[in-house]
Symmetry: C2
Subunit: 311 residues, 2 copies
């Protein structure tokens, strides 16, 4: 079974790792949000792509879910000593990624090429594609701070400002990265990982041509909201601030008729009755690599069930 | 006694450290070569300014004379793993300097401002001035590789190509950094540190207005060549390739009538007869901080002797 996974950072990367444990490299393509990408200290930083790649390569820090295993912070400490900006937690190993990526992009390589080469160097065998080679920037509209660049909101202001909307700057000019549409066409199903619907999945859906390509497929989403809360990140807070009660149901409604099936946590079992598409109830919290594989297996089983119903 | 020291990297920094041990901050200004500066991985790197500042701050690696004490190389190792350029030995702590300097320069600050701020952060109390805020690049003309950017010649090709000349790109448009001419005007004497005459001192002398300002002063040079050889770096090799027997005499002749007095090593005592200006013979090899201070004291004593002769 050929799967395309649509993912943001930490939560998405966990399910991606589960899928990668079960599927051969040719059968799994991961399309990753790049609307969180930003320039910092002159470096082009792709937080979600890096988190997915580090996770698949076994290089990720299992404590945080982002950043590198055995990371050191000598550069950051010395930037702080010089009075430089230290709000973004750049590790020394991680810096290498940003320095070399920036060098290659400035030399004219495309982000998708750079990502492919980095995956080869890191031993990532499954295909990781940035959603686009063109720059798209999530802008967060807030009540008190106006419109903020995503990392400014997310890391620097620690998600505190009250959100009233989102805008994906540059999305109209962005095209799917090479391989994205082909992977979707060849896919037996598309999986929306348990990532933030507003700022991880929506930017991908906003790229011209992707929503129609996805709509042709069996699509299963895994709820990033468990018991009304997120494991990490501001998705639940964003729903609340936008006037929507945060819940697994709210996420399913957000994706609307794109979904063929929906995976939600045992804790939320009673919510399944409010969802009008097939639901799969299981443990969705991924505390370790086994949990990731188990959830991925559940998702694949669910997809097979959906396919057998369709036939 | 107010002293201006003219310096390149490692050798120059050692004598500067000796002078700084003896002179109060207001009495020592160090003017540092910036024609070795280059861009690498998108970073603006100032090897000589950093070596002088790290040395004065007690942050330099005493084993190498350049780079940072207790340095790590996590970023460099990971750049190498990605197939990126690893020929320039960027440490993690050192990276912070380049990242934050690049950020500030791109935000419109001048190199002299950035250097002043970094010196404050590092606790460097003596004044360190880059020779110019404008970019000057030493280009090394070679027999077999044509004209090379300095770091390409110096680090990447390990000084192997045979040299036939030098050019200081941009020097005509460069002006002395703020404070450079004032420091020279106020100085009782100027010290040419034991740095490479061709690529560390000559670029400074080539900046418009500096040679005439220096010519008005008592100038003492310390030979970087001891027994026909250099402690570090390609100065002796360059003399040979340019058809000049490398020696303390050759260096004195190179500076010509700019010099009021010349300091050479005990090993070269018999060469003093070939030099037509007053010479001071002492141990010029600086193996530790005491050696640096002793040589600096010799230089200051020599300057006082020269002054008393003049009066």
């Amino acid at each position: 079974m050929k799967i395309v996974a649509i993912a943001g950072g930490v939560g998405g990367a966990k399910l991606v790792d589960g899928l990668a444990q079960l599927l051969i490299p040719g059968d799994l393509t991961i399309i990753v949000n790049t609307a969180d990408d930003f320039e910092h200290l002159g470096l082009y930083i792709c937080p979600d792509v890096d988190t997915v790649c580090y996770t698949l390569a076994g290089l990720a820090n299992p404590e945080t879910g982002w950043g590198r295993l055995g990371e050191t912070f000598q550069a950051l400490e010395n930037i702080r000593n010089l009075g430089g900006p230290d709000w973004f937690h750049l590790g020394d190993k991680d810096l290498a990624t940003h320095l070399e990526r920036t060098r290659r992009l400035q030399a004219g390589q495309l982000l998708s090429q750079v990502t492919r080469n980095f995956c080869q160097a890191w031993g990532v065998r499954h295909t990781v594609l940035p959603m686009s080679d063109q720059l798209v920037r999530t802008m967060v509209a807030t009540d008190d701070f106006g419109e903020l660049a995503f990392q400014e909101y997310f890391v620097h202001l620690n998600c505190k400002p009250k959100v009233n909307g989102f805008r994906f700057e540059g999305v109209d000019a962005a095209r799917p990265a090479p391989g994205v549409l082909e992977a979707m066409q060849n896919a037996d199903a598309i999986v929306f990982c348990p990532s933030n619907p507003w700022v991880s999945i929506d930017p991908i859906l906003a790229i011209k041509g992707l929503r129609p390509a996805i709509a042709l497929k069996t699509v299963v989403a895994v709820s990033p909201i468990i018991g009304g809360q997120t494991i990490k990140g501001p998705a639940a807070k964003m729903f609340t601030e936008l006037g929507i009660q945060p819940s697994a149901v709210a996420v399913a409604r957000h994706y609307g008729d794109l979904l063929s099936g929906y995976v939600l946590d045992i804790i939320d079992a009673d919510l399944a009755s409010e969802i009008t598409i097939p639901c799969y109830i299981t443990q969705t919290l991924m505390k370790n690599r086994d949990d990731r594989r188990h959830l991925a297996q559940d998702v694949l089983n669910f997809i097979q069930t959906l396919h057998s119903r369709e036939n």
